[in-house]
Amino acid sequence: MAQPRADAPSKIILAESDLHRVVDRIAHQILEKTSGATGTVLLGIPTRGVPLAHRLAARIHAFEGVEVPVGSLDITLYRDDLRLKATRALGRTELPPGGIDGLRVILVDDVLFSGRSVRAALDALNDVGRPSSVQLAVLVDRGHRQLPIRADYVGKNIPTALSESVKVTLTETDGADEVKLLGGLS
Protein backbone atom coordinates (compact mmCIF):
# COMPACT_ATOMS: atom_id res chain seq x y z
CA MET A 1 0.00 0.00 0.00
CA ALA A 2 1.42 3.39 -0.97
CA GLN A 3 1.91 5.64 2.04
CA PRO A 4 0.63 9.17 1.48
CA ARG A 5 3.08 11.93 2.28
CA ALA A 6 2.95 13.47 5.73
CA ASP A 7 1.86 16.83 4.30
CA ALA A 8 -0.84 15.20 2.16
CA PRO A 9 -4.32 16.68 2.49
CA SER A 10 -6.46 15.06 5.17
CA LYS A 11 -10.17 15.00 5.80
CA ILE A 12 -11.95 14.08 9.00
CA ILE A 13 -14.45 11.30 8.32
CA LEU A 14 -15.60 10.69 11.88
CA ALA A 15 -15.10 13.22 14.66
CA GLU A 16 -15.12 12.13 18.30
CA SER A 17 -18.89 12.32 18.82
CA ASP A 18 -19.58 10.57 15.47
CA LEU A 19 -17.24 7.77 16.41
CA HIS A 20 -19.03 7.24 19.72
CA ARG A 21 -22.42 7.13 17.97
CA VAL A 22 -21.09 4.60 15.49
CA VAL A 23 -19.82 2.35 18.28
CA ASP A 24 -23.20 2.65 20.01
CA ARG A 25 -24.96 1.62 16.81
CA ILE A 26 -22.75 -1.41 16.27
CA ALA A 27 -23.41 -2.45 19.88
CA HIS A 28 -27.17 -2.20 19.23
CA GLN A 29 -26.85 -4.15 15.99
CA ILE A 30 -24.90 -6.91 17.74
CA LEU A 31 -27.64 -7.13 20.40
CA GLU A 32 -30.30 -7.26 17.69
CA LYS A 33 -28.58 -9.76 15.41
CA THR A 34 -27.49 -12.13 18.19
CA SER A 35 -30.73 -12.00 20.20
CA GLY A 36 -29.21 -10.26 23.21
CA ALA A 37 -25.55 -11.22 22.75
CA THR A 38 -25.83 -14.49 24.66
CA GLY A 39 -23.15 -17.10 23.93
CA THR A 40 -21.08 -14.40 22.30
CA VAL A 41 -17.38 -13.48 22.64
CA LEU A 42 -15.74 -10.33 21.28
CA LEU A 43 -12.17 -10.80 20.05
CA GLY A 44 -10.24 -7.66 19.12
CA ILE A 45 -7.44 -7.77 16.58
CA PRO A 46 -4.42 -5.81 17.90
CA THR A 47 -3.70 -2.97 17.98
CA ARG A 48 -6.91 -0.93 17.69
CA GLY A 49 -9.39 -3.77 17.48
CA VAL A 50 -8.75 -4.55 21.14
CA PRO A 51 -9.93 -1.23 22.66
CA LEU A 52 -12.84 -1.25 20.19
CA ALA A 53 -13.90 -4.70 21.41
CA HIS A 54 -13.78 -3.46 25.01
CA ARG A 55 -15.86 -0.40 24.12
CA LEU A 56 -18.47 -2.54 22.37
CA ALA A 57 -18.69 -4.82 25.41
CA ALA A 58 -19.06 -1.77 27.70
CA ARG A 59 -21.84 -0.32 25.53
CA ILE A 60 -23.65 -3.67 25.31
CA HIS A 61 -23.48 -3.87 29.09
CA ALA A 62 -24.79 -0.32 29.43
CA PHE A 63 -27.72 -0.99 27.08
CA GLU A 64 -28.90 -4.40 28.27
CA GLY A 65 -26.78 -5.37 31.27
CA VAL A 66 -25.25 -8.34 29.45
CA GLU A 67 -21.59 -9.17 30.21
CA VAL A 68 -19.93 -10.17 26.94
CA PRO A 69 -16.47 -11.74 27.39
CA VAL A 70 -13.69 -9.85 25.59
CA GLY A 71 -10.32 -11.10 24.39
CA SER A 72 -7.63 -10.34 21.85
CA LEU A 73 -6.34 -12.35 18.92
CA ASP A 74 -2.92 -11.50 17.52
CA ILE A 75 -2.58 -12.39 13.85
CA THR A 76 1.07 -11.42 13.21
CA LEU A 77 2.36 -14.97 12.90
CA TYR A 78 -0.47 -15.82 10.49
CA ARG A 79 -0.01 -12.94 8.05
CA ASP A 80 0.69 -13.75 4.41
CA ASP A 81 2.98 -10.74 3.98
CA LEU A 82 5.43 -11.49 6.82
CA ARG A 83 8.28 -11.95 4.40
CA LEU A 84 7.57 -8.80 2.42
CA LYS A 85 8.28 -6.46 5.30
CA ALA A 86 10.72 -6.04 8.18
CA THR A 87 10.02 -8.32 11.14
CA ARG A 88 6.97 -7.22 13.10
CA ALA A 89 6.65 -7.21 16.86
CA LEU A 90 4.00 -9.57 18.19
CA GLY A 91 0.77 -8.48 19.82
CA ARG A 92 -1.00 -10.24 22.63
CA THR A 93 -3.42 -13.13 22.27
CA GLU A 94 -5.65 -13.43 25.31
CA LEU A 95 -8.75 -15.56 25.23
CA PRO A 96 -11.50 -15.03 27.82
CA PRO A 97 -11.38 -17.60 30.67
CA GLY A 98 -14.34 -19.49 29.20
CA GLY A 99 -12.54 -19.99 25.89
CA ILE A 100 -14.32 -19.76 22.56
CA ASP A 101 -15.38 -23.35 21.89
CA GLY A 102 -19.01 -23.58 20.84
CA LEU A 103 -19.55 -19.83 21.15
CA ARG A 104 -20.28 -17.12 18.62
CA VAL A 105 -17.05 -15.17 18.07
CA ILE A 106 -17.25 -11.61 16.80
CA LEU A 107 -13.89 -10.43 15.45
CA VAL A 108 -13.39 -6.69 15.91
CA ASP A 109 -11.00 -4.56 13.84
CA ASP A 110 -10.66 -0.89 13.03
CA VAL A 111 -10.41 -0.89 9.23
CA LEU A 112 -11.50 -3.50 6.69
CA PHE A 113 -9.43 -3.14 3.52
CA SER A 114 -7.97 -6.06 1.52
CA GLY A 115 -9.49 -8.68 3.84
CA ARG A 116 -6.09 -10.32 4.36
CA SER A 117 -5.99 -9.51 8.08
CA VAL A 118 -9.37 -11.18 8.50
CA ARG A 119 -8.14 -14.25 6.61
CA ALA A 120 -5.16 -14.41 8.97
CA ALA A 121 -7.50 -14.00 11.94
CA LEU A 122 -9.65 -16.91 10.74
CA ASP A 123 -6.54 -19.09 10.52
CA ALA A 124 -5.41 -17.99 13.98
CA LEU A 125 -8.88 -18.68 15.36
CA ASN A 126 -8.74 -22.19 13.95
CA ASP A 127 -5.67 -22.89 16.10
CA VAL A 128 -7.14 -21.65 19.38
CA GLY A 129 -10.54 -23.29 19.36
CA ARG A 130 -13.73 -24.13 17.51
CA PRO A 131 -16.35 -21.40 17.70
CA SER A 132 -19.91 -22.24 16.63
CA SER A 133 -19.83 -19.28 14.26
CA VAL A 134 -17.65 -16.28 13.44
CA GLN A 135 -18.78 -12.75 12.63
CA LEU A 136 -16.86 -9.59 11.81
CA ALA A 137 -17.34 -6.04 13.14
CA VAL A 138 -15.31 -3.13 11.76
CA LEU A 139 -15.35 0.58 12.44
CA VAL A 140 -14.60 1.48 8.82
CA ASP A 141 -14.96 -0.42 5.55
CA ARG A 142 -12.86 1.26 2.90
CA GLY A 143 -13.41 -1.24 0.08
CA HIS A 144 -10.78 -2.74 -2.28
CA ARG A 145 -11.24 -6.32 -1.09
CA GLN A 146 -8.78 -8.90 -2.40
CA LEU A 147 -10.52 -11.88 -0.82
CA PRO A 148 -14.15 -13.00 -0.60
CA ILE A 149 -14.72 -11.50 2.85
CA ARG A 150 -17.39 -9.11 4.14
CA ALA A 151 -18.23 -7.60 7.50
CA ASP A 152 -21.42 -8.33 9.48
CA TYR A 153 -21.30 -4.96 11.28
CA VAL A 154 -19.87 -1.85 9.64
CA GLY A 155 -19.52 1.47 11.39
CA LYS A 156 -19.04 3.50 8.24
CA ASN A 157 -18.48 2.72 4.59
CA ILE A 158 -15.88 5.06 3.14
CA PRO A 159 -15.32 4.98 -0.63
CA THR A 160 -11.57 5.46 -1.09
CA ALA A 161 -8.95 5.52 -3.80
CA LEU A 162 -6.05 3.11 -3.44
CA SER A 163 -3.70 6.07 -3.12
CA GLU A 164 -5.52 7.24 -0.01
CA SER A 165 -5.26 5.80 3.47
CA VAL A 166 -7.63 5.67 6.42
CA LYS A 167 -6.22 6.59 9.82
CA VAL A 168 -8.15 5.55 12.91
CA THR A 169 -7.01 6.95 16.23
CA LEU A 170 -8.48 5.96 19.59
CA THR A 171 -8.04 7.51 23.01
CA GLU A 172 -6.63 4.28 24.45
CA THR A 173 -3.86 3.92 21.85
CA ASP A 174 -3.35 7.36 20.33
CA GLY A 175 -4.85 9.89 22.74
CA ALA A 176 -7.82 10.98 20.62
CA ASP A 177 -10.93 9.50 18.98
CA GLU A 178 -10.99 10.28 15.26
CA VAL A 179 -11.09 8.76 11.76
CA LYS A 180 -9.25 10.58 8.99
CA LEU A 181 -8.81 10.10 5.29
CA LEU A 182 -5.27 10.94 4.20
CA GLY A 183 -3.64 11.51 0.85
CA GLY A 184 -5.19 11.24 -2.56
CA LEU A 185 -4.21 13.05 -5.70
CA SER A 186 -6.31 16.17 -5.11
Binding site: L77, L82, R83, T87, R88, L90, G91, T93, D127, V128
Partner: protein
Protein backbone atom coordinates in the same frame (compact mmCIF):
# COMPACT_ATOMS: atom_id res chain seq x y z
CA UNK B 1 16.69 -6.40 13.18
CA UNK B 2 20.09 -8.07 13.20
CA UNK B 3 20.88 -10.83 10.72
CA UNK B 4 23.02 -13.12 12.87
CA UNK B 5 23.20 -13.93 16.56
CA UNK B 6 26.87 -14.76 17.01
CA UNK B 7 27.50 -12.99 20.28
CA UNK B 8 25.47 -11.42 23.05
CA UNK B 9 27.38 -8.28 22.06
CA UNK B 10 25.36 -8.25 18.78
CA UNK B 11 22.38 -7.14 20.89
CA UNK B 12 21.78 -3.60 22.05
CA UNK B 13 19.27 -2.97 24.83
CA UNK B 14 16.22 -2.34 22.58
CA UNK B 15 16.89 -5.44 20.45
CA UNK B 16 17.46 -7.65 23.51
CA UNK B 17 14.26 -6.30 25.07
CA UNK B 18 12.35 -6.97 21.84
CA UNK B 19 13.56 -10.60 21.92
CA UNK B 20 12.46 -10.99 25.56
CA UNK B 21 9.07 -9.39 24.88
CA UNK B 22 8.55 -11.61 21.83
CA UNK B 23 9.55 -14.65 23.91
CA UNK B 24 6.88 -13.69 26.46
CA UNK B 25 4.23 -13.75 23.72
CA UNK B 26 5.61 -17.07 22.41
CA UNK B 27 5.40 -18.49 25.95
CA UNK B 28 1.78 -17.37 26.20
CA UNK B 29 1.04 -19.27 22.97
CA UNK B 30 2.73 -22.46 24.18
CA UNK B 31 -0.15 -23.24 26.54
CA UNK B 32 -2.55 -23.89 23.67
CA UNK B 33 -3.65 -27.21 22.35
CA UNK B 34 -2.32 -26.50 18.84
CA UNK B 35 1.20 -25.29 19.53
CA UNK B 36 2.27 -24.92 15.93
CA UNK B 37 2.43 -21.47 14.38
CA UNK B 38 2.79 -20.87 10.65
CA UNK B 39 5.30 -18.01 10.74
CA UNK B 40 8.34 -19.85 9.30
CA UNK B 41 6.52 -22.21 6.93
CA UNK B 42 8.79 -23.18 4.07
CA UNK B 43 11.97 -22.05 5.79
CA UNK B 44 14.80 -24.44 6.54
CA UNK B 45 16.76 -24.42 9.78
CA UNK B 46 19.88 -26.58 10.03
CA UNK B 47 21.14 -27.64 13.46
CA UNK B 48 24.88 -28.06 12.93
CA UNK B 49 26.24 -29.67 16.09
CA UNK B 50 29.94 -30.46 16.32
CA UNK B 51 29.71 -30.93 20.07
CA UNK B 52 27.41 -33.05 22.19
CA UNK B 53 24.31 -31.35 23.44
CA UNK B 54 20.95 -32.47 24.72
CA UNK B 55 18.92 -29.51 25.81
CA UNK B 56 20.19 -26.89 23.40
CA UNK B 57 19.72 -29.01 20.28
CA UNK B 58 16.30 -30.29 21.33
CA UNK B 59 15.30 -26.79 22.35
CA UNK B 60 16.25 -25.30 18.98
CA UNK B 61 14.57 -28.18 17.19
CA UNK B 62 11.34 -27.74 19.15
CA UNK B 63 11.44 -23.98 18.60
CA UNK B 64 11.92 -24.27 14.83
CA UNK B 65 9.24 -26.95 14.51
CA UNK B 66 6.69 -24.95 16.52
CA UNK B 67 7.17 -22.16 14.01
CA UNK B 68 6.62 -24.66 11.15
CA UNK B 69 10.17 -24.47 9.78
CA UNK B 70 11.76 -27.57 8.27
CA UNK B 71 14.53 -28.80 10.55
CA UNK B 72 17.62 -30.70 9.46
CA UNK B 73 19.75 -32.08 12.26
CA UNK B 74 23.41 -32.54 11.58
CA UNK B 75 25.76 -33.97 14.15
CA UNK B 76 29.46 -34.37 13.46
CA UNK B 77 29.39 -38.00 14.53
CA UNK B 78 28.36 -40.21 11.64
CA UNK B 79 28.73 -37.45 9.05
CA UNK B 80 31.39 -36.51 6.50
CA UNK B 81 33.15 -34.62 9.27
CA UNK B 82 34.46 -37.94 10.55
CA UNK B 83 35.87 -38.41 7.04
CA UNK B 84 37.77 -35.15 7.45
CA UNK B 85 35.48 -32.58 5.81
CA UNK B 86 36.29 -29.02 6.84
CA UNK B 87 33.80 -26.60 8.36
CA UNK B 88 33.95 -24.52 5.19
CA UNK B 89 33.06 -27.42 2.89
CA UNK B 90 30.23 -28.43 5.19
CA UNK B 91 29.04 -24.82 5.16
CA UNK B 92 29.08 -24.72 1.36
CA UNK B 93 27.04 -27.93 1.28
CA UNK B 94 24.43 -26.38 3.56
CA UNK B 95 24.48 -23.26 1.42
CA UNK B 96 23.79 -25.33 -1.69
CA UNK B 97 20.84 -26.98 0.07
CA UNK B 98 19.36 -23.57 0.80
CA UNK B 99 19.49 -23.31 4.58
CA UNK B 100 17.76 -20.13 5.77
CA UNK B 101 19.39 -20.39 9.18
CA UNK B 102 22.24 -22.42 10.59
CA UNK B 103 22.33 -23.06 14.32
CA UNK B 104 25.89 -24.02 15.14
CA UNK B 105 27.61 -25.50 18.15
CA UNK B 106 31.35 -25.96 17.77
CA UNK B 107 34.27 -26.62 20.08
CA UNK B 108 36.28 -23.86 18.42
CA UNK B 109 35.66 -20.36 19.72
CA UNK B 110 34.69 -18.10 16.82
CA UNK B 111 33.39 -20.85 14.50
CA UNK B 112 30.00 -19.06 14.07
CA UNK B 113 31.79 -15.87 13.00
CA UNK B 114 33.68 -17.77 10.30
CA UNK B 115 30.53 -19.58 9.21
CA UNK B 116 28.66 -16.30 8.78
CA UNK B 117 31.12 -15.37 6.01
CA UNK B 118 30.38 -18.53 4.05
CA UNK B 119 26.59 -18.85 4.11
CA UNK B 120 23.84 -16.47 2.99
CA UNK B 121 21.44 -17.45 5.76
CA UNK B 122 21.37 -16.34 9.37
CA UNK B 123 23.86 -17.88 11.77
CA UNK B 124 22.88 -18.53 15.38
CA UNK B 125 25.59 -19.37 17.86
CA UNK B 126 24.50 -22.30 20.05
CA UNK B 127 27.78 -22.36 21.95
CA UNK B 128 31.31 -22.00 20.55
CA UNK B 129 34.18 -23.34 22.63
CA UNK B 130 34.77 -21.25 25.72
CA UNK B 131 33.56 -18.14 23.94
CA UNK B 132 29.80 -17.50 23.94
CA UNK B 133 26.33 -18.98 24.17
CA UNK B 134 24.00 -16.02 23.53
CA UNK B 135 20.64 -17.83 23.54
CA UNK B 136 21.45 -19.26 26.97
CA UNK B 137 22.08 -15.72 28.23
CA UNK B 138 18.76 -14.62 26.69
CA UNK B 139 16.82 -17.40 28.37
CA UNK B 140 18.58 -16.66 31.68
CA UNK B 141 17.66 -12.98 31.38
CA UNK B 142 14.11 -13.97 30.45
CA UNK B 143 13.87 -16.24 33.53
CA UNK B 144 15.19 -13.48 35.83
CA UNK B 145 12.76 -10.96 34.38
CA UNK B 146 9.75 -13.24 34.66
CA UNK B 147 10.61 -14.27 38.26
CA UNK B 148 11.79 -10.92 39.62
CA UNK B 149 9.96 -8.49 37.34
CA UNK B 150 12.97 -6.50 36.14
CA UNK B 151 16.60 -6.66 35.03
CA UNK B 152 17.68 -3.07 35.57
CA UNK B 153 19.62 -2.82 38.83
CA UNK B 154 19.42 -6.55 39.54
CA UNK B 155 22.43 -7.98 41.39
CA UNK B 156 23.58 -11.21 39.78
CA UNK B 157 26.36 -13.45 41.09
CA UNK B 158 27.84 -15.85 38.52
CA UNK B 159 29.69 -18.54 40.43
CA UNK B 160 32.28 -21.11 39.46
CA UNK B 161 34.25 -21.95 36.35
CA UNK B 162 34.19 -18.54 34.70
CA UNK B 163 37.35 -19.28 32.71
CA UNK B 164 35.80 -22.02 30.59
CA UNK B 165 32.23 -20.77 30.64
CA UNK B 166 30.66 -19.43 27.46
CA UNK B 167 27.46 -19.07 29.48
CA UNK B 168 29.20 -16.66 31.86
CA UNK B 169 30.70 -14.59 29.06
CA UNK B 170 27.40 -14.18 27.20
CA UNK B 171 25.56 -13.46 30.43
CA UNK B 172 28.02 -10.73 31.44
CA UNK B 173 27.59 -9.03 28.06
CA UNK B 174 23.81 -9.30 27.91
CA UNK B 175 23.01 -8.58 31.57
CA UNK B 176 25.20 -5.48 31.69
CA UNK B 177 23.59 -4.25 28.44
CA UNK B 178 20.24 -4.60 30.19
CA UNK B 179 21.37 -2.79 33.33
CA UNK B 180 22.08 -5.62 35.78
CA UNK B 181 25.14 -5.63 38.04
CA UNK B 182 27.16 -8.81 37.67
CA UNK B 183 29.67 -10.17 40.18
CA UNK B 184 31.89 -13.06 39.11
CA UNK B 185 32.73 -15.46 41.94
CA UNK B 186 35.14 -18.39 41.90
CA UNK B 187 38.62 -19.59 42.76
CA UNK B 188 41.39 -17.35 41.39
CA UNK B 189 42.53 -20.15 39.07
CA UNK B 190 39.13 -20.08 37.34
CA UNK B 191 38.89 -16.27 37.21
CA UNK B 192 42.44 -15.42 36.11
CA UNK B 193 43.61 -11.84 36.34
CA UNK B 194 43.50 -11.28 32.58
CA UNK B 195 39.88 -12.45 32.40
CA UNK B 196 39.01 -10.31 35.41
CA UNK B 197 40.77 -7.33 33.82
CA UNK B 198 39.00 -7.82 30.48
CA UNK B 199 35.64 -7.83 32.24
CA UNK B 200 36.59 -5.23 34.87
CA UNK B 201 34.67 -2.40 33.27
CA UNK B 202 31.42 -4.30 33.31
CA UNK B 203 31.64 -6.50 36.38
CA UNK B 204 33.06 -7.02 39.82
CA UNK B 205 35.11 -10.02 40.84
CA UNK B 206 35.06 -11.77 44.21
CA UNK B 207 36.77 -14.90 45.50
CA UNK B 208 34.49 -15.18 48.53
CA UNK B 209 31.06 -16.64 47.83
CA UNK B 210 29.76 -16.21 51.41
CA UNK B 211 30.40 -12.47 51.27
CA UNK B 212 28.51 -12.04 47.98
CA UNK B 213 25.39 -14.12 48.70
CA UNK B 214 23.54 -11.80 51.17
CA UNK B 215 23.50 -9.02 48.58
CA UNK B 216 22.45 -11.04 45.51
CA UNK B 217 19.07 -11.18 43.78
CA UNK B 218 20.21 -14.02 41.52
CA UNK B 219 22.91 -16.60 42.00
CA UNK B 220 23.87 -18.50 38.87
CA UNK B 221 25.92 -21.63 39.46
CA UNK B 222 28.15 -22.70 36.56
CA UNK B 223 28.99 -26.28 35.79
CA UNK B 224 32.51 -27.37 36.60
CA UNK B 225 33.64 -28.38 33.13
CA UNK B 226 35.86 -31.35 33.86
CA UNK B 227 36.09 -32.15 30.13
CA UNK B 228 37.81 -28.84 29.48
CA UNK B 229 40.26 -29.12 32.36
CA UNK B 230 43.48 -30.80 31.44
CA UNK B 231 45.26 -28.99 34.27
CA UNK B 232 44.16 -29.02 37.85
CA UNK B 233 42.49 -25.76 38.79
CA UNK B 234 41.67 -26.73 42.34
CA UNK B 235 43.08 -29.34 44.75
CA UNK B 236 40.01 -31.57 44.91
CA UNK B 237 36.34 -31.70 44.05
CA UNK B 238 35.59 -31.79 47.76
CA UNK B 239 37.51 -28.60 48.41
CA UNK B 240 35.83 -26.85 45.48
CA UNK B 241 32.44 -27.91 46.75
CA UNK B 242 33.24 -26.68 50.28
CA UNK B 243 34.29 -23.23 49.12
CA UNK B 244 32.18 -22.57 46.03
CA UNK B 245 29.37 -25.13 46.06
CA UNK B 246 25.85 -23.92 46.86
CA UNK B 247 24.51 -26.04 49.71
CA UNK B 248 21.49 -25.56 51.97
CA UNK B 249 23.41 -23.54 54.58
CA UNK B 250 24.67 -21.13 51.93
CA UNK B 251 21.27 -20.83 50.28
CA UNK B 252 19.91 -19.53 53.62
CA UNK B 253 22.25 -16.54 53.33
CA UNK B 254 20.42 -15.36 50.23
CA UNK B 255 17.72 -12.68 50.53
CA UNK B 256 14.14 -13.98 50.75
CA UNK B 257 13.29 -13.25 47.09
CA UNK B 258 16.53 -14.46 45.51
CA UNK B 259 16.54 -17.22 42.88
CA UNK B 260 19.07 -19.94 42.11
CA UNK B 261 19.91 -20.70 38.48
CA UNK B 262 22.01 -23.29 36.67
CA UNK B 263 22.41 -23.65 32.90
CA UNK B 264 22.65 -27.46 33.15
CA UNK B 265 23.80 -30.13 32.96
CA UNK B 266 24.39 -30.14 36.72
CA UNK B 267 27.01 -31.97 38.73
CA UNK B 268 24.77 -32.58 41.73
CA UNK B 269 26.77 -32.46 44.94
CA UNK B 270 29.64 -30.62 43.26
CA UNK B 271 28.68 -27.03 42.42
CA UNK B 272 25.10 -27.41 43.64
CA UNK B 273 23.55 -29.58 46.36
CA UNK B 274 20.56 -31.72 45.30
CA UNK B 275 18.34 -30.07 47.97
CA UNK B 276 19.14 -26.67 46.47
CA UNK B 277 18.62 -27.78 42.88
CA UNK B 278 15.18 -29.13 43.76
CA UNK B 279 14.12 -26.24 46.02
CA UNK B 280 11.37 -23.77 45.06
CA UNK B 281 14.04 -21.07 44.60
CA UNK B 282 15.66 -23.07 41.84
CA UNK B 283 14.61 -22.08 38.30
CA UNK B 284 16.49 -24.89 36.58
CA UNK B 285 13.48 -26.62 35.02
CA UNK B 286 11.87 -23.27 34.22
CA UNK B 287 15.02 -22.26 32.35
CA UNK B 288 14.63 -25.23 30.03
CA UNK B 289 10.98 -24.37 29.28
CA UNK B 290 11.86 -20.72 28.75
CA UNK B 291 14.63 -21.80 26.38
CA UNK B 292 12.12 -22.94 23.78
CA UNK B 293 10.17 -19.65 23.92
CA UNK B 294 13.33 -17.57 23.70
CA UNK B 295 14.67 -19.56 20.75
CA UNK B 296 11.30 -19.26 19.00
CA UNK B 297 11.59 -15.50 19.45
CA UNK B 298 15.15 -15.46 18.07
CA UNK B 299 14.29 -17.59 15.03
CA UNK B 300 11.15 -15.58 14.33
CA UNK B 301 12.93 -12.23 14.60
CA UNK B 302 15.88 -13.39 12.47
CA UNK B 303 13.88 -15.21 9.79
CA UNK B 304 10.30 -13.92 9.97
CA UNK B 305 10.74 -10.69 8.07
CA UNK B 306 12.32 -9.56 4.84
Amino acid sequence: MIKHLRSAADLDAPTATLILDTAAEMAALSGREVKKLPALRGRTVVNLFYEDSTRTRISFEAAAKRLSADVINFSAKGSSVSKGESLKDTALTLQAMGADAVVIRHSASGAPHRLANWVDGSVVNAGDGTHEHPTQALLDAYTMRSRLGRLDGLKVAIVGDVLHSRVARSNVLLLTTLGAQVTLVGPPTLIPLDVAAALAEKTQVSYDLDAVLPDSDVVMMLRVQTERMQDSYFPSAREYSRRYGLDVARMKKLPEHAIVMHPGPMNRGMEIAPEVADSPRSTIVEQVANGVSVRMAVLYLLLGGK
